[in-house]
C-alpha cells in the first residue's frame, strides 16, 4: 500500500519521464557530465583533492604490491599438506626459548627419513659448489643448489623441461645423479637437452638426469633456515647421500650448542649441530595427528635411550605456519604498509573536508534544483557521482605515481625483493577500484549534507 503511494508521489513530481530504467541511466550519464564539468569549476580545490587521492592511493598500492609479493603463498595447491618436523635436540637450557632448533642434526634427520612414516619425505641442505664448463677455456662458475632426496621433486611439484628426478633406488645406491636448472643448462649446454651428459661439480663427475624449467617459489619456504626466503634460483639438485659421501659441508647455516668437540666428519655428523631441513607430505588431518604422535614417540625414545635429557619437545608446522614462525615478511614491508594506509586515511579525511567545502559552495544551486522538484535522493546521487569522477581522476594520477614508485622500490628493499613488486593488471584494477570506492565513501557525508540543503532558505537569501 505504502509502496504504491510512494511511487505515485514520485511519478507526480516528474511526470515527463517515461520509463524509470532508462531515466535512471540517462540521469546517471548526465550527473557524470555535470561532475566532469564541475572538476573544472574550482581548479585549485579539485587539484588538491585529486593530488591527495593520487598520493594516498599510490603509496598504498606500492607498499601493497611488495607486501603481496612477500607474504604470498609460495605453493598454494599444497601448502596445507607439506610439513617441516622439528625435534628438540638441544634441551631446555640451550634451545630457542623453549622452541626446538629450526633444523635437524644428521642423526635425527636420518632417523626420520628411515622411519618412512609419511607419504613422502625429503631432507635437504644447501650446497655451494663450482662447475667447470667442459671443452672450452672458460673460467669456472659458481653453482649453488641443494642436496635433496628423491621425493623432493614430487613433493614440491618441481616442473621439468627435460628428463626428471631420480628414484628412491638411486638414493639408496648413493648415485651420482644430478638435476640442473635451465639457467645452468643454458650456460653449459646452450639450452640443449643435456640429460645423460656429465657435469663436473666440486671436482667430481655427475650424470644429469633432469633439467628443471624455471622454478623458484618465493618465499623459498623449503629453506628458511639458510636463506631469508628470497634467494636466486638454485642451479643444481644432488643426491643427498652422495653429497654426504663426498663430505660436502653445508653451504648454508650451521648452528651448534655446547662445547664443540668434533674433529672429523663422522664427529660432525654425530654432533648436536643442526643444518638439515626435513619436509614431509601428509594428506589428511589424521595423517598429521599420526605423524605428530610418531615425532613425540621418537623424542621419548631418545630420552629413554639417554640421548636427550629432557621430555619430548616437537613441532610440526605446515608451509604457512612455517613462513609465519620464521618471520619471512620483512618488518620494513609491514611498517611501510601500515604507514601508507595511515597516509591514505589522512588523504581521505582531507577529501571529506574539501568535498564538503566544494559541495556547500553550491548550496544556492542545490536550493534551486530542490525547489524545481529534484528529490533528496537525486541530489545525493548526483553528488556521489561527482565524487566518483574526482576518484577516477585521482586513480589516474595514482596509477602514474604507482608506476613510478614500483620501479623505485629498489631503494627500500633488496633487489631480490624489489623485483617481486610488479605493476600487473590486477594492481592497475585495484588502484582504480580503491581510488573510486574510497572517494565515494568519503563523499557520503558531504553529499548527505548537500541533499539536506533547505530549498526555501537558499531561495530567500539569494
Amino acid at each position: 500500500m505504502r509502496q504504491s503511494h510512494g511511487s505515485r508521489a514520485r511519478r507526480f513530481s516528474a511526470p515527463r519521464i517515461p520509463s524509470p530504467d532508462s531515466r535512471t541511466l540517462s540521469m546517471l550519464a548526465y550527473y557524470l557530465q555535470l561532475g566532469l564539468r564541475s572538476l573544472r569549476r574550482n581548479p585549485a580545490l579539485t587539484t588538491l583533492m585529486v593530488m591527495a587521492i593520487g598520493f594516498g592511493v599510490a603509496a598504498s598500492m606500492i607498499t601493497w604490491s611488495v607486501f603481496r609479493a612477500v607474504s604470498g603463498n609460495p605453493i598454494p595447491g599444497k601448502s596445507a599438506q607439506l610439513f617441516t618436523p622439528q625435534v628438540d635436540g638441544w634441551g631446555p637450557q640451550q634451545n630457542l626459548k623453549g622452541e626446538p632448533a629450526e633444523a635437524l642434526g644428521y642423526v635425527d634427520a636420518m632417523a626420520l627419513l628411515r622411519a618412512h612414516q609419511a607419504k613422502r619425505q625429503t631432507l635437504l641442505y644447501p650446497l655451494r659448489l663450482s662447475v667447470i664448463p667442459q671443452g672450452s677455456r672458460e673460467l669456472p662458475l659458481n653453482a649453488d643448489g641443494y642436496a635433496v632426496t628423491a621425493d623432493f621433486f614430487a613433493m614440491f611439484e618441481v616442473p621439468f623441461r627435460y628428463g626428471g628426478g631420480w628414484s628412491a633406488q638411486d638414493d639408496e645406491a648413493r648415485g651420482s645423479e644430478v638435476v640442473i636448472s635451465s639457467k645452468l643448462n643454458q650456460k653449459l649446454f646452450g639450452g640443449a637437452d643435456s640429460v645423460g651428459r656429465t657435469i663436473g661439480l666440486g671436482g667430481h663427475d655427475f650424470r644429469i638426469v633432469g633439467v628443471v624449467s624455471h622454478w623458484n617459489p618465493r618465499p623459498r619456504f623449503y629453506d628458511l633456515f639458510s636463506t631469508s626466503g628470497f634467494a636466486d634460483e638454485p642451479d643444481i639438485y644432488m643426491v643427498f647421500n652422495r653429497a654426504l659421501d663426498l663430505q660436502m659441508r653445508t653451504g648454508g647455516r650451521n648452528s651448534c650448542r655446547g662445547s664443540i668437540s668434533y674433529t672429523s666428519w663422522q664427529g660432525y655428523l654425530q654432533s648436536n649441530c643442526v643444518w638439515v631441513t626435513p619436509w614431509v607430505e601428509l594428506d589428511s588431518p589424521a595423517d598429521v595427528a599420526r605423524y605428530h604422535r610418531f615425532l613425540e614417540n621418537y623424542a621419548a625414545d631418545q630420552q629413554r635411550a639417554g640421548r636427550f635429557g629432557w621430555a619430548a619437545n616437537v613441532r610440526l608446522r605446515d608451509v604457512m605456519q612455517w613462513l609465519d614462525y620464521e618471520h619471512v615478511v620483512p618488518p620494513e614491508s609491514r611498517i611501510a604498509l601500515v604507514v601508507a594506509l595511515g597516509f591514505f586515511l589522512i588523504c581521505l579525511v582531507n577529501t571529506i573536508g574539501l568535498l564538503l567545502a566544494k559541495f556547500m559552495r553550491r548550496a544556492g544551486e542545490i536550493g534551486v534544483r530542490r525547489a524545481l522538484g529534484a528529490t533528496r535522493r537525486e541530489i545525493y546521487t548526483q553528488y556521489l557521482v561527482e565524487a566518483g569522477t574526482v576518484g577516477l581522476a585521482g586513480g589516474v594520477l595514482g596509477l602514474l605515481f604507482t608506476a613510478l614508485g614500483v620501479s623505485g622500490v629498489g631503494i627500500l628493499f633488496q633487489p631480490e625483493i624489489a623485483r617481486l613488486a610488479r605493476l600487473d593488471l590486477s594492481l592497475v584494477g585495484l588502484t582504480f577500484v580503491v581510488a573510486i570506492l574510497a572517494t565515494v565513501a568519503a563523499a557520503f557525508y558531504p553529499a548527505w549534507r548537500a541533499a539536506h540543503v533547505q530549498p526555501a532558505w537558499q531561495l530567500k537569501s539569494s
Binding site: L45, L48, M51, A52, F55, A59, Q93, Q94, R128, S130, I132, L139, P140, L141, N142, G202, G203, Q247, R249, R257, G258, S259, I260, S261, Y262, T263, S264, W265, Y268, P330, P331, E332, R334, I335, A336, V339, A340, G342, F343, L345, I346, C347, V349, N350, I352, G353, L354, L356, A357, M360, R361, I411, L412, F413, Q414, Y445, R449, S461, S462
Partner: protein, 418 residues
Amino acid sequence: MKLHPILAALRKHKAGTVLIALQIALTLAIVCNAVFIIGQRIERVNRPTGLDESNLFLISQQWVGAPSADTPDGVEKLDAMQREDLAALRQLPDVVSVAPINSIPLLNSSWTGSVSLKPGAQLGGKGNTRTAYYFTDEQALSTLGLRLVAGRAFTAGDVQHQGFRDQRERPIAIITRQLADKLFPQGSAVGKVMYTDGSSAPTTVVGVVERLQIPASGSWGNEFVWNSTLIPTRLDANFARYAVRTKPGRLDAAMRAVAPVLYKVNPLRVLDDDSVKPFDEIRAKAYRADRGMAVLMGVVCLILLCVTAAGIVGLTSFWVGQRHRQIGVRRALGARKADILHYFQIENLLIAGAGVVIGVLLAVGLNLWLMTHYEMSRIPLPYVLTGVLAMLAMGQAAVFVPARRASNVPPVEATRAA
C-alpha cells in the same frame, strides 16, 4: 579577544572543525613516529665500524677441485694455496697490506660464539658474553685500520692455521674495548685469560682495539654489536677471503689488478663480479633497507604535511567565503583588520590544539603498537613535543593566507546581499 564567539561559530561548523582536528591528529601521529623511525635509522647507519673504510676492499673467492679440508694433508695444501695468493697480492704495486679474514663488519656472514672467564662454561649459559670471531693474521690491524689502545698486535710468529671446521686451541686473542670492559671491568684486559666457546684451554688477551663491529648488521646482533674477537689463525677451506688496503686513491687500480694476478697464481677458481668488492659497497648493501626506510618516511612526512596544510587552506577559505557578510558587519561595527586576522588565527589554534591533544594520544598508541610488533623503542618526549609545535606552526602558516583575505573584506560588504 574573547573566545566565546569563536566557540559559538565553531558549533555551527561541527563537521569541518572535526575534520580538520582529526586530520591534524592523524598527521601528528604518523609524522611523529615516522620522524622517530628516520632518526633511529640514521643513527644506525652512521655508527662507525671501527675500520678505516676508505681504500679498503674485500676479495671472496672459491677454488675449484680443491683438496678436502678434512684431512691434515688437504689442510696443508689449502694453506699453501692461500699463502701463495697472499704473497702475490702483497706484491701488487698499489697494495699496502693484505690480511686473510673470514668476514668483515657489515658483510652479514658471521662466526659467532661466546667467551667466558671460566673454563668449560656452557654456551648460552650465565657468565658468558657473545662475540663474533675474526680469524686473520698479523697484517689484520694495519689492513683494517684498527686502533690498538692497549697491548700489542699479532706477530707473524703468532699465526696458526687450521681446517675450517677443525677445533683448535686459541692461545692468544685481541679483543675490542667493549668486550674487554665487559669481561674485565676492573683494570686492563691485557695479559688476562678467557675461555672461548666453552673450551677448557685458556686464551690470553694480548691486545685491545678501540672498536670493531661484528659482521652482522641485522638487529639480532644488536646485543653484542661491538664484541669482536680477533684470532691469529688462517682458516683453510675451499674458499678464502682477503681484506686489502690500497694506497690512497689507488682503490680502483688495485681492484682491477686482482683477477689477473690471482688467475696467474691458479686459474682453477671462481672469481666473478661479486668477488671483489670495495667496502663502500658492502656498507651500502648492509644498510640499504635502513636508508630506504628513512627516505620513504621522509617523503611520506613531507607529502602528508603538504596535504594537511592544503586541507586547512581549503576549508578555511570556504569558511571565509561563507562568512563574508558577517565579516563585513564586524568591520562596519568597528573591528580592525587585525581583529579579523586574529579571529581566524585563534580559531585555527583552537582546532589545531584539540587536534594535537588527540594526536599525541594516537602517536603514543601507534608507537606502542609498533613496539609490540617490531623492534622499536619508546618514542622520546622531545620528538612528540617537536611534532606538536610543528603541527601548530603549520596550522598557523596554512591559515594565514585565507585569514588575510578575510581581513581584507571591506565593511561595505555588510550592506550587500549575501
